[in-house]
């Protein structure tokens, strides 16, 4: 039944959209109109949104660059590779320890270079005469001091422009050093339209230069890789705790808390569990084609989603022992989650949230808000593509524009010796017919309620306008957006770096998140914004001191 309120709401949202677009120059308004979508959640018929397109200059975007996606996001969390930024000093400096991806380097002989920033610190003479010699020497100096098993080179904008062949330098040094795997990433900041291109460039090179190098049979049962989990605030630690408790072996996480050897062994896993579809779905595809490992989409954000994901993994392995253990773990973990949810819910129920973050988090975190009884009234991604909004069924029809064409797609074929389909065709079919979806992601939009607004590549102006017009109880985005929103008196939660909190994944993470959102939306501070004399400027009586 459609209530009068429901009937009215879309019209309101249309007005809101119009109000937002009204301020733009006509050309900008036309472009943004296609990236702002009123979700009417019609049955299986999600409207089309424009995504993964160029940001409009001067609009104050939330987006970063390809280098940030490559060096910062994908390779940043890998502790035992020396990551050298080839360029002027800034890029290396800003990506130095700023992303809160935790790593466990507590083993006595563990290498950990994540606390270091390595750069060739290019100077004007390097720009004029070329930086290859300096890069070569920098690799040698890093090797001589640290003797790492791997050195990665990251290109910054001027490197591509002056034509330094970083791949040739890397190969030369790899051959020269002998016991150090050196490879490079052409992740100049101007490539692509956002961080997303950098994820792709990073993952391609990891796949090409690292995956498959270690054929050693790792101990453990029910071997999986966790793809697209970056261990922000210790999320990966909590997921690993749960997996371990279930008896599931995590061979490699791409790339939270990762190490060189994990990547090298990834082809020995029997299932790929994809967390962040945006940043890594193509690696899952490549691992399947080359090594025969199927993939499923999972999500460990939200207690219910975590339980569902564990069951999905158990279903794939189709072993009563695992299924039983997974159910036992869920039964053991859920009461503590429910207890906190029940405590918090009376204070969060009915409140509203806006989420503008990442390539999957704006979707995944809606789960946690749902568990708090909160509605997501508007959401959008910073750098995702249409399939992340609308589902993978749109993939065949996606337009490849000039910006995407420049980002390499690796052609893979089955590995001559290592290809090994993990399940027979019949088994796969049986699993599919029993309800296990392989290679499937429906995207954010179908999961969102009617009368919500989906906005791609939100900018500063739109953020402010949305808060003003729709008045959410909490707004989630990144550090750049944090304080302009909070100045308005609306609590703001960072969902890139979690402010200083976390983990928010898994069961314990859900508890942390419930408490954090309770703290934020119910903080006393929001009641202090006006001084007593501002709230009550009129003098009700004249006091006379005698």
């Amino acid at each position: 039944m459609i209530s009068a309120h429901d009937n009215k709401a879309p019209a309101d949202l249309a007005v809101i959209k119009e109000q937002i677009l009204g301020k733009y120059p006509p050309k900008v308004a036309r472009k943004r109109a296609k990236q702002i979508l009123i979700n009417e959640a019609l049955e299986n018929e999600t409207p089309e949104i424009t995504a993964n397109v160029r940001t409009i200059p001067g609009i104050i975007t939330m987006r970063g660059c390809t280098y940030a996606g490559c060096k910062g996001v994908i390779m940043g969390p890998t502790r035992d590779i020396v990551n050298i930024t080839h360029g002027p000093i800034g890029c290396g400096f800003y990506s130095w320890l700023t992303r809160r991806n935790q790593t466990d380097a507590s083993a006595p002989d563990a290498e950990n270079y994540m606390t270091y920033c390595f750069s060739t610190d290019m100077q004007d003479k390097d720009i004029i005469f070329g930086g290859e010699k300096k890069l070569e020497l920098a690799i040698q100096e890093a090797y001589d001091i640290f003797h790492p098993k791997g050195i990665c080179i990251f290109a910054t904008c001027p490197v591509g422009l002056i034509g330094d062949d970083i791949h040739a330098v890397a190969l030369k040094m790899k051959n020269k050093l002998g016991d150090c795997n050196v490879f490079a990433f052409s992740c100049e900041g101007y490539k692509g339209v956002s961080q997303s291109a950098g994820h792709h460039i990073a993952n391609n090179q990891v796949f090409r230069h690292l995956v498959g190098l270690n054929d050693e049979n790792k101990p453990g049962e029910y071997k999986i890789n966790l793809l697209g989990e970056y261990n922000i605030g210790g999320d990966g630690f909590e997921i690993d705790r749960i997996l371990k408790k279930c008896g599931i072996t995590n061979i490699a996480t791409f790339s939270g808390n990762s190490s060189y050897d994990q990547f090298a062994s990834a082809h020995t896993a029997d299932l790929n569990a994809v967390m962040c579809h945006r940043s890594i779905n193509y690696v899952a595809d490549m691992l399947e084609v080359k090594y025969g490992i199927p993939w499923v989409k999972i999500n460990f954000i939200g207690a219910e989603a975590t339980a569902k994901s564990l069951r999905k993994i158990a279903k794939y392995f189709d072993d009563p022992i695992l299924t039983e253990r997974v159910e036992a773990v869920i039964a053991e973990e859920m009461p503590a989650v429910a207890e906190v949810a029940n405590q918090v819910r009376p204070r969060t129920e009915g409140k509203t949230a806006m989420l503008f973050v990442g390539g999957s988090r704006a979707h995944h975190y809606q789960e946690l808000f749902k568990e708090l009884g909160m509605k997501t009234i508007s959401a959008g991604y910073e750098f995702a593509h249409r399939d992340d909004y609308e589902g993978r069924h749109v993939l065949p029809g996606l337009k490849v524009d000039a910006d995407s064409r420049n980002i390499e797609e690796i052609e893979v074929s089955p590995d001559e010796t290592r290809y090994n389909p993990r399940k027979s065709e019949e088994d796969m079919e049986a699993l599919v017919s029993s309800g296990l979806d392989f290679k499937q992601y429906e995207g954010m939009i179908p999961d969102m309620e009617k009368n919500t607004v989906v906005i791609d590549d939100l900018n500063q102006y739109e953020a402010e306008k949305m808060v003003e017009l729709m008045k959410p109880d909490i707004f989630c985005a990144g550090i750049k957006e944090k304080f302009s929103i909070q100045k308005l008196g609306i609590p703001m939660k960072q969902l890139h770096s979690y402010d200083s909190g976390g983990p928010y994944a898994g069961f314990r993470g859900a508890v942390n998140f419930y408490n954090e959102i309770d703290r934020l939306v119910n903080s006393k501070v929001w009641g202090y914004l006006k001084a007593p004399w501002q709230e009550n400027p009129e003098l009700s009586a004249t006091y006379v001191w005698e």
């Binding site: 120059p25 200059p57 002027p88 000093i89 020497l137 910054t156 904008c157 339209v193 302009s484």
Partner: protein, 459 residues
Amino acid sequence: MLLRHTPKEISERHALTINPAKTCQPIGAMYAALGINGCMPHSHGSQGCCAYHRSALTRHYKEPISAGTSSFTEGASVFGGQANLLQAIDNIFTIYEPEVVAVHTTCLSETIGDDLPQIIDKATKEGKVPKGKHVLYANTPSYVGSHVTGFSNMVKGMARVAESTGHKNGKVNIIPGWVEPADMEEIKRLAALIGVDIILFPDTSGILNGPLSGEYKMFPEGGVTIAQLRSAGDSIGTLALGEWCSADAARFLDTNNKVPCRVLDIPIGLKATDRFVDALRIIAGVSVPEEVTHERGQLVDMISDMHQYFFQKKVALAGDPDQLIAMVEFLVSIDMWPVHVVTGTPGKAFVARIKELTADLPFEVNVKADQQADMFLLHQWVKNEPVDLLLGNTYLKYISRDEDIPMVRWGFPILDRVGHQYFPTVGYKGALRLLEKILSALLDRKDRDDPEQSFELVM
């Protein structure tokens, strides 16, 4: 250990920088531009530059930092960024309505050779700059100098706005250098106390230490206005605080607008503040008010009261040249021993100045200012010659923890503590705060480490 791979043995490096004691030019330009009233900084380069600078400044100030980017694509990098910048200027003025847009370049736009004055001229001719509004610019190639150079270049960009009418305005220009909003406030307070009418640029006070009131103003009150910058060409003189951050702009005004300048150190510590106050007094032709002399006396009092705890304590410092010079002088003046000093901002003059300031110490100070003068080297120096205190930005906390040495956060960026937005380190009051912080660090450590039989109640 967090920096477990740093060896004690120092090997010479020529190409690799590890744990830099600097960052790149554009962020300095962005910070400086935020000190102009109603100004939107704009980064002419890839999106990432702007995102990184905004993030770093936001983490340091815990305040909104708005800035535009030209969002270069591969095409723009090949064909030039003119179309992007023209579109950006149009969009910024239409959507955000600032008074001023301050454009700075990046390594990308510098490498391809985009000509900012020409593009801005074109934007103006095409009507993309509304009447009465302004576009400033600075060239800030990331592969020259450091963030300090970028700050200096944008300040010079502000000086280019100055006009000379031939009538002196009776004011003194003060270029405060890369200091905190609270420091800029303190400089204004001191000048007002002494009775000097000043034009301070840039001035981030009120902009990057704003209140929470339920309102968001992208362009808060505060900052130097274009009218003030114009008028700077008629000032009676310029005091530039810091050779690296401020002198270029002051000399530009000297040459171009015949406004004489004096370059002083940033007034951090007793002696540098003395010279600053003395210079202001002479320029204004007034006596220093008792209130200022009183503040000075309080500082001298604290130095005397607690001298035994400062005496011959060894300090390792990382930071920026202007700040380090003033701080090293301050430390020497209270009988502390700066033993290791690094800055990634290149400059032979810096090394010479530090050597001169430490010439009377009974040892030769380790000082380096180039690409390999980084925190990795500083850490190695500390391993070879341990110190009692670390002074520098947040990144030093890794050395502090590994080597178990107390630290005082000072400089840029401070990502894990607050206070720098609100409490100055310049002037006599700022020096008191610095001493308080240094003492707290040293005495907390003493309290932690003293054996029970000699644990002190009174210190």
